[in-house]
């Protein structure tokens, strides 16, 4: 794999754009997941009774179960959102960068 190809890709402003945009998106989502998960762990450790309360008067569904089911769904939706954007928008940009580096080679 020629170092020259990598050099040209790095020099392409689109590469910086790809790295910055994808990196920001990935880290934002990762921080959302980490904050929610460890926040939840903290509630379990420090205020467990809050999780055992019913979501509304007389309901058998507790806050903890509702919250967790919500997290299962939400985290999975986040993975779907990331995969969707990475596989279309970011990959298209990615291919452009590789194509342009090839063109310069000729």
């Amino acid at each position: 794999m020629s170092s020259a190809m990598y050099e040209r890709m790095r020099a392409n402003p689109k590469f910086q754009e790809l790295v910055a945009r994808r990196g920001r998106f990935a880290w934002t989502l990762a921080i959302i997941v980490l904050t929610m998960f460890y926040g939840f762990v903290m509630v379990v450790a420090f205020n467990p009774t809050a999780l055992g309360q019913p979501v509304s008067e007389g309901s058998r569904v507790t806050v903890g179960v509702a919250l967790e089911l919500g997290m299962f769904i939400f985290f999975w939706v986040l993975t779907a959102v990331y995969v969707k954007r990475a596989n279309t928008e970011f990959d298209a940009l990615n291919q452009e960068i590789v194509r342009e580096a090839w063109k310069e080679e000729k």
Binding site: M1, S3, M5, Y6, M9, R10, F15, L18, V19, R22, A26, W27, L29, A30, V33, L34, F37, Y38, F40, V41, M42, V44, A45, F46, P48, T49, L51, G52, S59, R60, V61, T62, G64, V65, E68, L69, M71, F72, I73, F75, W76, L78, T79, A80, Y82, V83, A86, N87, D91, N94, I97, V98, A101
Partner: protein, 553 residues
Amino acid sequence: MNKLISSLALMAFSAGAFAADAVAQTEKQATNWHAIIMFCIFVALTMGITYWAASRTKSTADFYTAGGGITGFQNGLAIAGDYMSAATLLGLTAMTYTQGYDGYIYMMAFFAGWPIILFLMAERLRNLGRFTFSDITAYRLDQGKVRTMAAVSSLTVVCFYLIAQMVGAGQLIKLLFGLEYNVAIFAVGILMMVYVTFGGMVATTWVQIIKACMLLAGGTLVMLLAMSQFGFSYTTLIEKATSVHKLGDKLMYPGSLLKDPVTAISLGLGLMFGTAGLPHILMRFFTVTDAKEARKSVLYASGFVAYFFNVIFLMGLSAIIIVGQNPDFFEGGEIGKKLIGGGNMVAMHLAKAVGGNMLLGFLAAVAFATILAVVSGLALAGASAISHDLYARVIMKGRASEATEIRVSKIATICLGAVAIVLGILFEKQNIAFMVGLAFGVAAAANFPVLILSMYWKGLTTRGALMGGYGGLISAVLFVLFSKSVWVDVLGNAAPLFPYTQPALFAMPIAFFMAWLFSKTDSSVAAQAEIAAFEDQYVRAQTGYGAAAASNH
């Protein structure tokens, strides 16, 4: 009770492993013919696939990564298969049955690592790696030293995990099928050798896929049959469960499991980053065509895992009424006594109660198939560390021919199978619950920090990687050795030297710190070149240009 919880905890903690502790000293049951026949059908089917796969396994790429030709959906199922072990099915159902909501908290901790792996690791793994994760750590560093280090920690993880699996398998099969312990160990060991040596990654992947489908179908069926007894109403289920369970309304409150914040955080870290450092899970990212498919694999895998955890939660809750109120499932026919076969049999009893012997047999066969599939994945990961890293790259320095490399990996598989059988027999009567924690601790502290630094931090040098890797490995092993689970429970000392059972919170910072310190202070010429080489690696990690392509089939 606490002991039960901690062993269940460890069991649940293991993305595919077994703490035989809770099933130890099980009584041999009457031979279960339904289960044996269904298991034989599974073996016949997978042997057919192995025969077919053998004809397609010619190059090293075929053997290690199925030629990179697995689709995202197939790989997602296979990853889910690797992740949802028999321990997940049996251990988490049992945990929900005894502890209620605590079981659900555990499942969340199991699940939360997957989005992180997707966001921060999946595409870089696929873009940089080829056969083993050492391809990534050794990408711009000293091949010989770094690969040796990575192979040592990979093999450590694989061996601890294998012991836990084998002992668990023997105990479980004795219980479910009524076979002798040693017969069960040999059956698992030999079947695993056949799958891996003849079929390589192609066969291992398909065994994993079939097993994942069986597990999803079996679990769903049991859950639906059980829920039909409550008119598919969650409210009715909870009303009945809280009225009969000894915890009463406390059933749906967090219990004693994660009381101590240090343990809770350490466990969360170990689970999240241990998963991201397990060699057999990482290897799955190299079996797909490109980063696009790698991302899709995580999407499908996490979907299946999340779905199945919710199924298990409902199974565990229904079992409180269906199993817990039926005297037939208790020793001496008395409700509240010990469950027949021990606490881990909840899922099996539930299957029998709602679907009779046929469903019980099916679920038992699924459990056996699960163990077999996980053991095969582990053996392949271990064998590739020996043949690809140690033999081809370190000993032969890249001059080994593909044919000899494959031969070495097959020999390595057979040796690992033999080692697994011997260790399984040696450890039969031992308390092996800590092994899983150790495997995860080592994965999180030795493999993960060096792997993530090599992908994200320009300044990592060979010296830093070695010190970080070995530092994490040794500190994780020592923390577990001095903790209650080994120092007191196995070695019989009065008090543990290290107060916590989970090493990750302590061993991971040590690994990161040592990697940083010894890289920063490394002023050698080689280190300068390694740092300079990061730029090209970075472009490849981001764009995938130059990444190993799928071989043509």
